[in-house]
Subunit: 209 residues, 2 copies
DNA sequence: AAATTCAGCGTACACTTGTTAGCTGAAATG
DNA sequence: CATTTCAGCTAACAAGTGTACGCTGAATTT
């Protein structure tokens, strides 16, 4: 029942995924990868590629799904750390930046295909970002008693700032990245404070940071 | 002195630029355009392309420069409208959104190549965004008496939010775009208020909107 | 043990691509 | 008017692409 065959198939499937990931660097985007190159790096014939994916897009969507999942898991873990005390803003931003730093290729892929050419990609990535946004909105409503519409606008703004900063961080060295992270935290606090100041006064809380 | 020859050359140069612009749609990115396709649409032989640009990248950089220039001019005009009274935030965001709506292809190009594969592109686009950011920073320092570092962080956040919203607006119909624009204005006000609340109290002004 | 499945292979085809080399004829220059 | 310049052309090339077809042999099923 181990399935020697299925096992081997899964192995070369991973090889394809890994090959694609390896070829994603600042100098070549996913959409510029060719089926043949990826197959070559994975060590199989070009035609065998089709045993695993219908085309390159399907491979790409797999990468997006896996990358998004990993990010969501990380943020879930970080929320547990918050329960034990600590600033939600600070920890979340750091978690996000760490993810970007250690998954540059996947994050770059997401950035590129977010504005890219294939509708399925754009939708898949929009969905990932929406998850992020939705969880933040829920948090703001539940833990901070912020009314729905304001919470939506606030988390939308925060996600925009953080993702955009993540994009810029790709090209930075550790030191500059730390500076950028610090600035991002400050900016998220701006948004939070600004949003708070728009609450009906009886709802507002003393401090958000 | 009219220069019949130079005149004709300029004309086909514009034809090339226009051809490239025409082929930029949601379904095909600039980096996927081929020199041959563009030349074909412009009505010249592929080899004649080289009489005008060294390669496609050079054409692309021209597009970025022209697009960025147009945007900056628009914003300069809108700042004059502000001098006559009106909310700087509201007018600027509307101006920006209008630009995006009427120059979708160029804006899409900028989004794509911002995270793209060619360093020159990334730098050129970063420079355009920096202009935007710098002018906003100067405004905040001069007109609002906000200290340098805070002004930088604030305008950085605002630019991130606005550009990101502009990206999302590309796919929307007029009605949804209006909603997004309204939300963006709200978000920019959040940032402005939040930043204001971080001022040393003797500097703070009563109202930013 | 026989029959079936199927991941991976080699061959082949029709395209598209960027770029070189050299020609042409009208515009510009003297 | 003679000469030079040069935008645009045709032809040709080597290189790369996605994909259809049919074969093989080991793993699986019957």
């Amino acid at each position: 029942m181990a399935g020697i065959r299925a096992q081997q198939k899964e192995k070369t499937r991973r090889a394809l995924i890994q090959a694609a990931l390896n070829q994603l660097c600042p100098e070549s985007s996913f959409s510029s990868l060719s089926l043949r190159e990826v197959s070559r790096e994975a060590g199989i014939a070009p035609t065998s590629f089709y045993r695993h994916f219908q085309n390159m897009d399907e491979l790409g969507l797999t990468l997006v799904d896996e990358g998004g999942l990993a990010l969501r898991q990380l943020l879930r873990q970080s929320r547990q750390r918050i329960a034990k005390g600590g600033s939600i803003i600070e920890i979340s931003v750091h978690t996000f930046m760490d993810y970007v730093t250690h998954n540059k290729n996947i994050f770059r892929l997401m950035l590129q295909e977010q504005a890219g050419t294939t509708k399925d990609f754009r939708l898949a990535i929009a969905r990932e970002i929406d998850h992020f946004k939705q969880e933040l909105t829920d948090y703001l409503k539940a833990e901070r008693n912020i009314p729905a519409e304001l919470a939506r606008a606030q988390s939308d703004a925060i996600v925009r700032v953080v993702f955009s900063a993540g994009a810029d961080s790709l090209d930075l060295q550790a030191e500059d990245r730390a500076r950028l992270t610090a600035q991002t935290i400050l900016q998220v606090r701006m948004v939070a404070r600004g949003a708070n100041s728009m609450l009906p006064p009886n709802l507002s809380e003393p401090n958000v940071s």
